[in-house]
Symmetry: C2
Subunit: 364 residues, 2 copies
């Protein structure tokens, strides 16, 4: 009989990668029940985090998706990581299956790694969020500096499915892992209470909710707030030319359906916030271009080791593709950390603005 | 020596078409100085209307584009037509080179066709605008019902270039053709006066300006208002899924650069208008879907002949492609006219809304 590892290697597409002397393969296309982002490291398999479908209409969505009671948790706006230990080294993987030089560097500061002494095959699935992160431009209002980890699921090495929520909660509490807020166990009858949670999260600028069915099939769904839809539009502005057309329609539909679902009034203030979300980025881009003859966005984050900071910039360059240029701006020591600053630059937006602001014609 | 007609037939791609017993060919791709939309009808050649480049930054744009004084005219928000007479029949062509059943039907009501007795090889280039037109959802504020013609250029059969502006003005005035508003002759030194025109057009909700160099090379450029950028976004809402991503970036950049150029303040009211432009369409779409289980947009226009009304619906079906469905809704006599109503339906938006409003999941 073939091993799981052999099965995966035979059936899916993988790419080779390295991190600080560690050689691994990552699955680049989901196939045969093996998610994109699955990582093969020696004999270890860290399965990709399963994708969670989104409901845009809460009431029919819950009825359609869930047959049993479900747990309700907060969805945090950051980037997805899987944390595990391999040959004594704690590592953090990105959604795509790269060892993340930034998260891996910061692990001792993000959680108590002693959990892996008790649970050596544990995979902690979480969101890293905060203003000083290297990947996403927005941050939840409850992380005001640096970054923090919010565990939302646990997996085991070699297992493609997260642990049942109740079992995960018990382990998260016992190991005191930093975790997302839990709102409890509900049924589709509790729609009013769930809507109240969604409205509160929206008014506080939080991202949304994840639902986890309390059953063997471990079905999940997510639902986001109007505030999240607007925040997505806001933070996409500099990359406006790189997103597919359905990006904006999707966010606007989320916004419209959230308002109708939650019985919220569409008022002038909401229109103003949406308009501002579309205008802020391009407005700032034009101002920056007129000042500096280029548009770029600066990211800043801190790491414990200088080498990891350099590896981070190299990693981001590698995954960004040719539509984005990444350049190191500053690397300096501040207290116990190295602070790295790098710029993301969008050549197509810069080319277009240069042409237009020099009086060039556009044919459309 | 080959005739012009033979040259075109040899060198560019054409498609066959028919209108009420009239057989013609239209050029489907611009090539070799022959614009897309050029029409070959017997021995007659009606050249495509040349594309006019757009400046987004007025001050550098005028300096960059014009070496001589230029005429300034209003740009009207409608659809482009070329009107000419062939074997005694007045015909109107769309931009793409189809005989337009609607415009052709209405020609005797749009202008005094006696002009073609004096000028048999004249091609009148104009914009047809108004709420009751079959093509565009928006209309200028100065056409409150039905449609009107606004001549902006004159061409000659067989000639690819419009007449010089001064010559055209003289003929337009003599033949009393309905025409766009003219603001006069300016130089790049007159930037303040031109900005004042643009600001006034913007505050009145007009579309913008066309510049025509008063020289042998007949160079042109266009420039639109912030109001036009917002109106474009508003009227695109139901087709949001069908437009390329640069559509929105383009409009937002026009808006931002207009404000900066004209020294206008970006205020909460502008943000609100932009937000509303994005929200109105999807909001109405969801409401319509919940009421009628479909989203469609109804167009209405009036024609003199019943057959032309049916030919119009057939024509729109033909040019819309598979991304849009067109269905006849009503055809009735009102006074001297036939009023036709038809619906445009976007299958992809309807499919998406149906899925979402029944509680379906979206993976993104």
């Amino acid at each position: 009989m073939k091993s799981d590892l052999q099965e995966i290697t035979d059936q899916v597409r993988t790419a080779e990668a390295d991190h600080a002397g560690l050689h691994y393969r990552r699955v680049t296309d989901s196939a045969r029940g093996c998610e994109r982002g699955t990582v093969l490291l020696g004999e270890a398999i860290v399965h990709g985090y399963p994708r969670i479908g989104r409901v845009l209409a809460l009431r029919p969505g819950l009825g359609e998706q869930f047959r049993s009671p479900f747990w309700v948790e907060e969805k945090v706006n950051g980037y997805n990581v899987r944390i595990f230990r391999y040959e004594g080294r704690p590592l953090a993987l990105t959604r795509g299956g790269f060892v993340c030089p930034f998260t891996t560097d910061r692990l001792p500061e993000l959680l108590d790694l002693a959990v892996f002494d008790e649970e050596p095959d544990l995979v902690i699935c979480g969101e890293v969020a905060g203003p000083d992160n290297p990947y996403v431009e927005s941050a939840p209002p409850f992380v005001v500096h640096d970054v923090a980890l919010f565990t939302f699921d646990l997996m085991r090495l070699g297992q493609p499915t997260p642990l049942p929520a109740a079992e995960a909660y018990e382990l998260i509490d016992r190991a005191r892992l930093p975790a997302v807020t839990r709102f409890g166990r509900y049924t589709t009858e509790d729609i009013a209470a769930i809507q109240a949670i969604a409205r509160r999260l929206d008014s506080e600028g939080h991202e949304g909710i994840v639902f986890k069915e309390d059953s063997a099939r471990a079905r999940r769904a997510k639902y986001v707030t109007a505030a999240s839809a607007i925040s997505d539009i806001q933070s996409t502005a500099p990359g406006l030319m790189e997103v597919p057309p359905e990006y904006f329609l999707g966010r606007i539909l989320r916004l419209v359906l959230f308002l109708r679902e939650e019985g919220l009034t569409r008022d002038a203030e909401l229109d103003r916030r949406l308009g501002a979300a579309f205008l802020d980025g391009p407005y700032a881009a034009v101002e920056q271009f007129q000042r500096e003859q280029r548009v770029s966005h600066t990211y800043r984050c801190r790491l414990r080791e200088r080498d990891n900071a350099l590896a981070l910039v190299q990693h981001i360059n590698q995954v960004s593709g040719h539509a984005i240029q990444v350049t190191l701006r500053d690397l300096r020591q501040e207290g116990a950390h190295w602070v790295v600053e790098f710029d993301r630059l969008y050549p197509s937006l810069n080319g277009l603005l240069g042409h237009l602001l020099h009086g060039g014609l556009l044919y459309d």
